[in-house]
């Protein structure tokens, strides 16, 4: 177990280096003069030349690469073209906002999908199961921005119950969390159901029934505890997808998160911010993946006790 943790943590190092390399490559992959990109489209020549020198864009590539790597490793991701603030300063608070949104949405999705998935599997092929299946199918076919628009229209405009955008009170959380969470819930319900149907077909379930265990115990203890192994992985992937979906959700609800920052920076060609948000998103994904692996190992006694 310890070896697994250490191994996984060590895996993060090459991954991070790879990502930094990619960010460096972005300067040169994007068509155009990197100095102009950093200075902004309308910057005067003198500023552009200053930046070229300061960033060493006139130097050979490997020297530039070394310098960039060194700077990123010291926590310096450059400064924004517009606010002229260090990228790190504008990114960090955004991460917290995105984390809140993603975490709450995922919580919502996990609770809903576990409940619906288990109930559906328990009533396999009966009317209740069919209803859940159809609803979750509709859910995975409705993109977040459609749900979001419908939710805004119905709850904010038509009923005037909830605010449309921003995140200044708990009421602001409701629509974004449900919009983002509902899609994930639909995806996960289908998967939880199929994991549970699988688990309920196993021999040890017959053994549990043969003991005289009541059906609720069979489903929620014997089957669920086993289905939890694949479900944990699914939830981990789900968390990743929730983070991905947060980009769109944040744009719909004007949520001041990392996703909207990234999209805006791309639209306004603020490359340092784009790089910074990509970097942090990537690190978050790798971290989430790591945590999922560890939780998985912890849930599975075959790994935990060997």
């Amino acid at each position: 177990m310890i070896r697994l943790i250490v191994g996984r943590l060590l895996f993060m190092v090459p991954a991070a280096l790879l990502i930094i390399t990619f960010l460096f490559a972005l300067f040169h992959l994007i068509p155009g003069d990197p100095a102009v990109m950093l200075a902004g489209d309308n910057a005067p020549r003198s500023v552009v030349d200053g930046i070229r020198e300061a960033y060493g864009f006139d130097q050979p590539l490997h020297i530039q690469y070394g310098r960039y790597m060194a700077k990123v490793l010291q926590g310096d991701l450059g400064i924004s073209n517009y606010t002229r603030d260090p990228v790190v300063n504008s990114v960090i608070p955004r991460i917290i906002n995105t984390a809140q949104l993603a975490f709450l949405s995922m919580l919502f999705a996990m609770v809903v999908s576990l409940l619906l998935g288990c109930v559906s599997a328990m009533y396999w092929n009966r009317p209740l199961d069919k209803i859940v299946t159809i609803v979750s199918l509709l859910g995975i076919c409705t993109p977040v921005f459609v749900t979001g628009l419908l939710a805004i229209y119905f709850f904010s405009i038509y009923l005037d119950w909830l605010p449309i955008s921003g995140m200044s009170s708990w009421r602001h959380f409701i629509l974004p969390v449900i919009t983002l969470g509902a899609f994930q819930a639909a995806v996960l319900t289908r998967m939880v159901r199929s994991c549970m149907v699988d688990a309920l077909g196993k021999d040890y379930i017959t053994t549990a029934r043969a003991k005289g265990a009541p059906e609720l115990l069979v489903v929620f203890k014997h089957a669920l505890r086993n289905a939890l192994l694949p479900i944990v992985t699914l939830f981990g992937l789900g968390l990743g997808h929730t983070l991905g979906g947060s980009v769109v959700t944040e744009t719909i609800f004007n949520w001041p998160g990392l996703g909207r920052l990234m999209v805006n920076s791309i639209l306004t060609r603020d490359l340092p911010i784009t790089q910074g948000s990509i970097f942090f998103f990537a690190m978050i994904f790798i971290l989430v993946n790591l945590i999922v692996d560890l939780v998985y190992a912890w849930v599975d006694p075959r790994i935990r006790y060997d």
Binding site: I140, C141, F281
Partner: protein, 277 residues
């Protein structure tokens, strides 16, 4: 042909298969069947609600929404087909090659692929759009590359399995070169799983293409696209909520049909899956 005979047994498959075919037909004939010019600006007729003249109303430039939804169907079909093709054409050869080659090349390639697979498609696509630019080609490249790892995995898996087959081993022993073996002996095994995967990922392509345009990183105005139309409609949600009806419904119906058809295709080719459901 056996495939179609068995596919036909599934009612859901027939209904939504027909719907999907209809959507593709609409896409192919879009230029002839739009009731009005989807691009024609008419500033005297902005924001007119649905009527017999404009079934889905008109937008902020007085353009006929129904016509734009129809043209957007074509755009979506074009973009997603191209992206899917791109993903197959990049992913499959790489997967086949590394699977065949084995050794450290395979180890490294699969490590990288696994790493890419932990990122959501939309994130990969956005990053690629940063490089490729927010244009139709950019979206095709972005979605294609973002999905390529899936196809790499599958192509590699099938290649590994095929390599164990006697006739392939015999061909290798007989000294056939690797291009010959890959094309003649391994490719025939790959086509079915690739087609299944492609149908299964079609809805993913559609969802992500429209998400990119919703974010403004995809197909650019004035070319209509469902996601982008919804983004514009959002600004007028209070005054003209009917603007979201057309693009939202088209998008959901397309994704729903694609999803169900994908499921049925997979079950038809692999009947064991059905028992599970």
């Amino acid at each position: 042909m056996d495939f179609f005979r068995r596919y036909k047994r599934d009612k859901v498959g027939i209904v939504f298969g027909a719907l999907l075919v209809l959507l593709y037909a609409v896409a192919l004939t879009a230029h002839w069947i739009t009731p009005a010019d989807p691009m024609a600006v008419n500033l005297r007729e902005v924001f007119s609600p649905p009527s017999s003249a404009h079934w889905l109303g008109t937008d902020q430039f007085g353009r006929d929404v129904l016509s734009r939804v129809i043209l957007a169907t074509q755009v979506t079909v074009r973009v997603t087909s191209a992206a899917c093709l791109f993903a197959v054409l990049t992913g499959v050869p790489i997967g086949m090659f590394v699977g065949y080659r084995g050794g450290w090349v395979e180890a490294i390639a699969m490590r990288l692929t696994d790493m890419l697979l932990i990122f959501p498609i939309i994130m990969l696509a956005i990053v690629i759009v940063v490089v490729a630019g927010p244009t139709e080609t950019g979206v095709v490249v972005a979605l294609g590359l973002a999905q390529a790892p899936t196809f790499i995995r599958i192509a590699r898996g099938v290649t590994l399995a095929a390599k164990e087959e006697l006739y392939v081993e015999a061909a290798i022993a007989a000294g056939s070169g690797w291009p010959h073996i890959l094309v003649r002996h391994i490719w025939p095994n790959i086509s079915t799983p690739i087609i299944v995967q492609a149908t299964l990922t079609l809805p993913v392509f559609v969802l992500n293409a429209s998400a990119l345009s919703y974010l403004g990183l995809g197909v650019q105005p004035p070319t209509p696209e469902w996601g982008q139309m919804l983004n514009e409609a959002k600004d007028h949600l209070i005054t003209s909520p009917y603007l979201i009806v057309g693009p939202a419904a088209a998008l959901v119906v397309f994704v729903l049909s694609a999803n169900l058809v994908g499921d049925v295709v997979q079950e038809t080719l692999n009947p064991k899956l059905k028992k599970r459901k």
